[in-house]
Symmetry: C2
Subunit: 466 residues, 2 copies
Amino acid sequence: MDTVKSLSPFFEPNGIAIVGARSTPGFGFGLPKNLRDHGWADKTYLVNPNGGTIHGYPVFKTLKEIPAPVDLAVVLVPAPAVPKVLGEIGEHGIKNTIIMSAGFAEAGEEGKTRQARARKIALSYDMQVIGPNCVGVVNTANAFCTTEVMPEAYTPGKLAVIAQSGVFGQNILERVNEYGIYVSKAVTLGNRLVTNEIHILDYLHKDPDTDTIAMYLEGSADGEQLRHTIVKVTPDKPVIVLKSGRTSEGRAATESHTGSLSGEDNLYDGMFAQTGAIRAETLDDFTTYCRAFATQPLPKGNRLGIITGSGSMGALATDCAIKNGLTVPPLSKRLMAVMKEGAPDWMNTKNPLDVGPSGLFPRAFNAMMEDPDFDMILAVIAVPYSAVRFRLTEFTIEDFFFGGTLPLKERKWEKPFMIAVVCHEDLVSNFRERAEPGTPVFNTPEQPVRALAALWRYQNWKNNHK
Amino acid sequence: MDTVKSLSPFFEPNGIAIVGARSTPGFGFGLPKNLRDHGWADKTYLVNPNGGTIHGYPVFKTLKEIPAPVDLAVVLVPAPAVPKVLGEIGEHGIKNTIIMSAGFAEAGEEGKTRQARARKIALSYDMQVIGPNCVGVVNTANAFCTTEVMPEAYTPGKLAVIAQSGVFGQNILERVNEYGIYVSKAVTLGNRLVTNEIHILDYLHKDPDTDTIAMYLEGSADGEQLRHTIVKVTPDKPVIVLKSGRTSEGRAATESHTGSLSGEDNLYDGMFAQTGAIRAETLDDFTTYCRAFATQPLPKGNRLGIITGSGSMGALATDCAIKNGLTVPPLSKRLMAVMKEGAPDWMNTKNPLDVGPSGLFPRAFNAMMEDPDFDMILAVIAVPYSAVRFRLTEFTIEDFFFGGTLPLKERKWEKPFMIAVVCHEDLVSNFRERAEPGTPVFNTPEQPVRALAALWRYQNWKNNHK
């Protein structure tokens, strides 16, 4: 199968039929408006047996009445009507369909039967189907989007998102967007009547707009095929995976949700490790890894340099680094000599480099960033808000610690670099606005370490699989 | 030793000598002003050989000149002058001293020698000493505070904080305050010349203002004594511990920080488990557990009920619950019958209870809260911001999901309850303002589960150690 060709109407349709367009509030009412707002009016055709007009579009009573070629159908009719509609779509020769309606395998025996029927119909017409029980796709390159998202979600970026549920996909978009990370494409798979994560991975592998793929999975449609596909993708693009169903209780929960059969989790664990996919433990890790891979170069090794003004935070970061496969080696003699110059007696020249209130942070930071003996750098800033809140116009984290905004914006460094601002939320959000997206800012010492460790895990896998 | 008697001047001094008060910016300038601002002017006496006045206070050239009894000295002179000053304090008969100055065991050989000298002097006068290398104490009950904190940090609460470093202590205060959690007392221990975490734990155990104790530790002054003390405290008050130095590299980092010897981590792990202390893995967990213990009742068992509108989020929460020692049992037949009434076909009646867009959330939520077969409840809200942002005046999370703010404020429930609002940051912060502190709100499905599991770990330990 030529995945690119067979899936491209999902992302770059030449004509779209919206089956189940409505003149009352709901998806069938909002979607045509959305498409119009983003320049797709000329290619959008509404279908509803009642006819009439919606948002100024003429409404066609049947697919046959549409006076132009259509290569994508979006189905919004209630679940019981879906099989019949799917047959009509097949008869009309449309090969790509997104079914948004819920009420299939996720909803008891009746739904399962309905889904089996629909699948048979789709296969008989050799159709690609995304859904049911999903919200379709987002393609930022051409502003084609089958669901309502925030305006900023239309900003083109290099991260692709695969999610099984619509709510999850929307949530991930909103989360990464908040950090200035934007997507190339997003797909919500739903119950995977035909098209599944394997097809989409294959498509995104070849998608020139996509650099990194982030996937939320409840269970694979075909574990063995998923393995084969991931192992083709990971040498070229990192694949970040959050998979629920780690426990049998969690698996039972996913079964009632998108009708997935999740399979034994340890099999997935092994498979992800072997194929170089980066498995996230939690939703927080998933977002964190997206931020890391979308903004940072890969490290050449696992040697982490930590610079901080707080010994406690440096120690917490160190523990986390060691537990996650990084090393925190001593400063080289050369760097030690550089740092001792002009340093107060009490200042240690270890790693973590705790410069305390010496005022040497910017110099130490630059020396560490340039030191060839460190493959990645973490800066941990801890400033009591009480100490600076009355002079926020003169005090900025970038000036005080990094010698201005410019280094953070220019990012001439070739190694990954993150900042933990373990401070009052006001300081964190204020600083984030200026440092991100280039330099991810976190508010705990551990989370950026986990992010750096994930970058290294991927690079290390690549080193071992050349 | 009567800890309460010997330590009370740290928290309720009758007369305070600030040795090293200054007329130029710094702690020695800010502290006298702070004490004046909070009603302590009458009991505060500044000492500096230069004399003069600062902030309207007369400055005494020596301790002897102070015309009133003093039971607490706060030392702000440079490290080399500390031993001499400590001797003078001892001679004057002051039994409690806070040394803020840095430059002791944390700062190389010279500092270690200095600290040993100071300790000898302190012990020879039978003195209690907090520090050096710290910022002293906070007592919200009488607004006595030896460091500059945010105004809200003076709000009295029931959580006591023990931190080794000043920066860490300040950070924890700012963090918990942001969630509407306030402290009774906070102590930054620094290098523990004399007074250590064991003495403070003992004191807080008997402190009527303190319900929960949260402690950041880099290593204990005396592991065996710490064990004895914790085991006395935990039957009465939960003790939450974040200890760095899990790895040998992390331990090396703490050594150069507060001069601690951290000891093998697995010994601490075992000790905390045996004594019923709740060990936090990360800074985020530490804050999370503080929020949980400060606001929630303890659960009677480990049966977690999850209600959500997103199957994915429910599955992630379930995985996390099982991994952390909770159970996620099926709904009882009775509850299932209640839920089936008026529910759409597609709605499952499992646990997690995924009500989807049925509109049944408030009813289901109330039924779960009242169900005797669940010991704790987690609600996971996932709403795409795009779906509600234009109607934020009519849409509020409390109305839509919980039948209004009142139930969240009244909290007539006797079981712990938390909410994950896995939504755009704007929705989360907006809702937090109204739900907290009574009901902790998180923005991932996993973190509130970890919090609920910590509550259960503590209750379970208590059940087994009656």
